[in-house]
């Protein structure tokens, strides 16, 4: 009797072990990780057009072309230790369609390994696409998906986004390179703090306008260049800011962690101010229905480079003169940004709205819905104080 029970038990165990095992198990080497995702206007690539001609098509609208960057390129048996590094490190593959999920699944009819998004690091959206579709629509899948982590960073590209993924030096994966370049934020404020998906989600939900870092690329190289503005109400791209504008936003927001201000003396030779520390204080003033802002920017820095060899930077007098020059330069930069924000694009991307919402939540509630328009009428004053505290290791 006991033996029969044991037999039963073994039978059940056997069934459990053989039938249940590994529902969700996929060996890691049978998967394709993609590190970058580029989203362009729908325009089938040449390969795709060829494939379509031979019947590889399905009903769809060509709204969006998604390119993924698969790392590492792993084809069975091709790897031998000696030629590592010579082969391309990644594989870019594009598909066109009107649903991101469908596109991603469509890769399964072209690749032997399923693609997973757990290791997606950067998403690059072409400004052309962002102009037509709202960011909310474009990124809806990415935000909803369980594979893609909200930690991945979103960029814009004024050229074709897929070219950005293509542009890299040999032995380098451009998605990871872009990810790494973000860390240079503390070297120069031309590199913005990356905006990741969860921040983007919050920004889109709050209907605030915001900026995303812009990437430009050539065949061989790529670079961070300014930023693109996304209008909060529509979620569309409306225009670009250049590199000094991006720096100015950092100055206003007080996010500058490093960098330099270059200006010219009367002799038209460059002098450089290296930022050591900075502080920015924004204050919203409300008088009746009138809102105004005052921004107080203070910074300490070093005289790092001086082409004006006649003047001695270690002299206090010259320092004070130079401070004036730099302050002027900075206020020019900021004015240019303010003009772009208030007159050209009529958006607020420098955190004035946030400041108002914190300091005067009741006023904010009234103007919240049409803040961008409201903002273009609001006077903003700046008070900039730069202080040169030292002049480096050379006295002359």
């Amino acid at each position: 009797m006991c033996r029969r029970q044991l037999l039963n038990l073994m039978l059940i165990m056997g069934v459990l072990l053989t039938q249940t095992g590994c529902w969700s198990s996929f060996e890691i080497e049978d998967l394709s990780l993609y590190g970058g995702l580029a989203l362009d206007e729908g325009e089938p690539t040449e390969t795709e057009q060829d494939l379509n001609k031979q019947g590889g098509s399905y009903p769809r609208k060509n709204l969006i072309t998604a390119t993924i960057q698969i790392v590492p390129v792993n084809s069975f048996g091709s790897k031998s230790k000696s030629d590592k590094g010579h082969t391309a490190q990644y594989l870019n593959i594009s598909e066109t369609g009107d649903s991101l999920l469908e596109i991603l699944r469509q890769y399964s009819v072209r690749l032997e390994r399923m693609v997973i998004g757990h290791h997606l690091k950067v998403i690059i959206i072409s400004t052309k696409l962002a102009q037509k579709q709202s960011m909310d629509q474009i990124l809806d899948f990415v935000l909803r998906d369980n594979d893609i982590r909200p930690s991945c960073t979103v960029f814009l590209s004024e050229g074709k986004a897929m070219d950005v993924l293509e542009a890299s030096r040999p032995g380098e994966v451009s998605a990871f390179r872009i990810q790494g370049m973000l860390r240079n934020h503390y070297r120069t404020s031309k590199v913005m703090k990356g905006v990741n998906l969860s921040q983007l989600d919050a920004l889109m939900n709050s209907k605030r306008s915001f900026v995303l870092q812009n990437i430009i690329s050539t065949k061989k190289d790529l670079e961070f260049a300014g930023a693109g503005i996304i209008k909060g109400e529509t979620g569309n791209w409306i225009g670009s800011l250049d590199q000094p504008d991006v720096e100015s936003i950092s100055w206003i927001k007080g996010e500058v962690q490093g960098g330099a201000i270059k200006s010219y003396t009367e002799k038209n030779v460059p002098v450089i101010y290296e930022i050591k520390s900075m502080k920015s204080k924004m204050k919203a003033k409300v008088q009746g229905d009138d809102i105004s802002f005052h921004v107080d920017i203070q910074s300490q820095g070093r005289f790092t480079e001086n082409w004006d060899i006649k003047n001695d930077p270690s002299k206090a007098q010259f320092m004070e003169e130079a401070e004036k020059i730099f302050e002027k330069r900075l206020s020019q930069m900021i004015d240019s940004l303010m003009w772009k924000m208030q007159s050209k694009y009529k958006v607020d991307v420098a955190g004035f709205g946030e400041c108002l919402s914190i300091q005067h939540p009741h006023v904010w509630k009234k103007v919240k819905d049409h803040w961008d328009e409201e903002f273009s009428q609001i006077p903003v004053t700046f008070d900039i104080k730069l202080k040169i505290t030292d002049f480096g290791s050379s006295l002359k």
């Binding site: 006991c2 029970q5 044991l6 039963n8 038990l9 059940i12 072990l17 249940t20 095992g21 590994c22 969700s24 198990s25 996929f26 060996e27 890691i28 080497e29 998967l31 990780l33 590190g35 790392v71 590492p72 792993n74 069975f76 048996g77 790897k79 997973i116 757990h118 290791h119 690091k121 594979d147 982590r149 990871f176």
Partner: protein, 556 residues
């Protein structure tokens, strides 16, 4: 109303769910039932055996007495044990008195030299001198007293009249002396048991600490314990165990420290043990443990007297069996398995560091392959990107899924380890080279396993060797395979379930009433000084709370 009803109906699960619910109930019941029957089977067998043996022992007679007649007595003995080739009957004439005498002994169990000088020489020659003063031999009853007091310079000597006793003592290595006219036999002991000299314990090597280990002789072992320090509170109680071949067993404890309920429980369990022969203290361990089905040991075996003594001072009880150098310490808790006496001999900072290292190693030994499998086959998204990419590159062309791959390597490692123990010492290292280097390297080259897994498995193996208790290491290695199966089925979730299952089992497990995972839980903050941390000695003022000792304080 109807719509509400239909809505309600829509929420009733379909029949497959009910089937699954049935399965949910059925399988545990079957498992529980079969475990119970297994348990009762073991119990039943134990009890039937006992009944059979008890009838057997009652049939034995208590033995007859010697008749008192020299010739017939010797004949009687000859009949009983004379068939053995190694029992010698040395007959001689006692010098001076000219009476016959017989010396009976087993060859090889005494020092022949001592028999010659201390018995034969005296009786055959020195007695002659003595006889000049006395002329005649004392009468029957005084003879044995005379022999003991005047003639034989042997410290252990007694008179025996019971034949069975006599036979047993002869066979155990005593010398029996019959003299014409003496009604009883004199039994002397001049043991020359060939024993191993006291050496360093090989199974528990230390860098710093006494180099002394137990031997196979019980009396020596108890003496070693006594020699650890002078106290009148170290009490040792002797038990005779084994139904067929009898052996001595000693229960040692500090009588003013040990908890009396615990002592009572231990003594009770020892007296209930029922086995024809106790070959090693492992028999005792298995017969007195609380839970037979648990993979965890419930008695700690050790060769080190210093370990035993410090356990006794904590209020534990040691069980020593004749014929084995391994003493048992009960009750045991999980943390003890990861402690080494060296923790206390070194200063507290290195001691603490080693403790933490061992806990980490134990965790790794248990979990590392399971974690590897769940990461590789289930959750590629939970590991860092760089690592994921290098693993993918390393695993190109590996034909097996991670679970199978892991099992292959782990099992071959176990075989290797087992083979290494059995091999003669000079070949052992060669084995390590063949197994570890050649097979490992070749299998990676051949693409059967990935180099990353080799690292994981090797790390696991080394971790399990770093556990000071050999038997605890085995437990963890067995459980590791279970963990791999869990991970292979349900990934990370399975691994978490496995961990919870182990926790549940450990908390349910008790060793002589002490919860196995004390002092982690039940939480005894005072005992935490000696858990992950090895607190400085001045801080360890108290004996462990969990032992509920009679004396709490370690210091006066």
């Amino acid at each position: 109303m109807i719509s509400m009803w239909s809505q309600f109906v829509s929420y009733i699960p379909d029949w497959t769910t009910f089937m699954q619910a049935g399965l949910t109930l059925l399988i545990p019941i079957i498992i529980c039932y079969s475990f119970r029957s297994l348990h009762s089977m073991i119990k039943e067998q134990n009890s039937t055996e006992k009944r059979a043996l008890s009838t057997d022992s009652s049939g034995e007679t208590s033995g007859s007495k010697l008749a008192g007649d020299y010739k017939s007595d010797v004949e009687l003995i000859k009949q009983a044990i004379g068939n053995n080739c190694d029992v010698h009957f040395r007959e001689f004439i006692m010098g001076g008195y000219e009476v016959g005498a017989t010396l009976i002994f087993v060859a090889g169990m005494q020092a022949a030299e001592h028999i010659n000088t201390q018995v034969l020489q005296i009786l055959m020659m020195n007695a002659e001198k003595d006889s000049k003063d006395n002329k005649s031999l004392p009468s029957n009853s005084e003879l044995s007293a005379y022999m003991k007091q005047k003639l034989l310079p042997v410290c252990e000597i007694k008179e025996v009249v019971d034949i069975r006793d006599l036979n047993q003592s002869i066979l155990n290595g005593h010398i029996a002396l019959f003299i014409e006219g003496m009604p009883n036999a004199l039994v002397m002991s001049m043991p020359n048991e060939k024993t191993r000299s006291i050496t360093e314990p090989t199974s528990e090597a230390l860098i710093r600490g006494p180099r002394i280990g137990f031997t196979e002789v019980l009396s020596e072992n108890t003496a070693i314990l006594r020699r650890q320090g002078r106290t009148e509170n170290l009490e040792m109680t002797m038990y005779e165990v084994g139904n067929y071949l009898k052996r001595n067993l000693v229960v040692a404890y500090m009588k003013d420290i040990v908890n009396l309920d615990l002592l009572e429980e231990v003594k009770q369990r020892i007296s209930k043990m029922d086995m024809d022969y106790f070959a090693e203290s492992g028999y005792v361990e298995q017969l007195i443990e609380d839970n037979i089905l648990s993979p965890f040991q419930q008695g700690q075996n050790t060769e080190r007297p210093d370990r035993v003594i410090s356990a006794l001072l904590e209020g534990r009880i040691a069980i020593l069996l004749d014929g084995t150098p391994f003493a048992l310490i009960v009750p045991v808790t999980f943390s003890m398995l990861l402690q080494s006496p060296e923790d206390y001999y070194e200063r507290w900072i290195p001691g603490t560091l080693l403790r933490i290292l061992r806990f980490f190693a134990a965790f790794m030994a248990l979990m590392a392959p399971a974690l590897y499998i769940s990461f590789i086959s289930f959750h590629p998204g939970l590991i860092p990107t760089e690592l994921a990419i290098s693993i993918i590159e390393a695993r190109q062309g590996v034909p097996f899924p991670a679970t199978i791959e892991g099992l292959i390597l782990a099992i071959s490692l176990e075989i290797l380890r087992e083979a290494g123990i059995r091999l003669p010492k000079p070949i052992g290292p060669a084995m390590g080279i063949v197994g570890g280097l050649i097979i490992g390297e070749a299998s990676v080259q051949a693409g059967i396993v990935s180099p990353f897994l080799v690292i994981v498995v090797a790390f696991t193996a080394i971790s399990s060797f770093s556990i000071p208790m050999f038997s605890a290491g085995i437990t963890l290695r067995i459980l590791r395979f279970v963990g791999m199966l869990f991970a292979g089925t349900l990934g990370m979730y399975g691994t978490v379930l496995f961990f919870l299952l182990i926790c549940s089992h450990l908390t349910k497990l008790k060793s002589f009433g002490v919860p196995y995972v004390t002092p982690i839980s039940p939480f005894r903050i005072n005992d935490w000084k000696d858990l992950f941390l090895r607190a400085p000695l001045p801080l360890m003022k108290q004996r462990p709370d969990m032992m509920k000792t009679q004396q709490k304080k370690r210091r006066s």
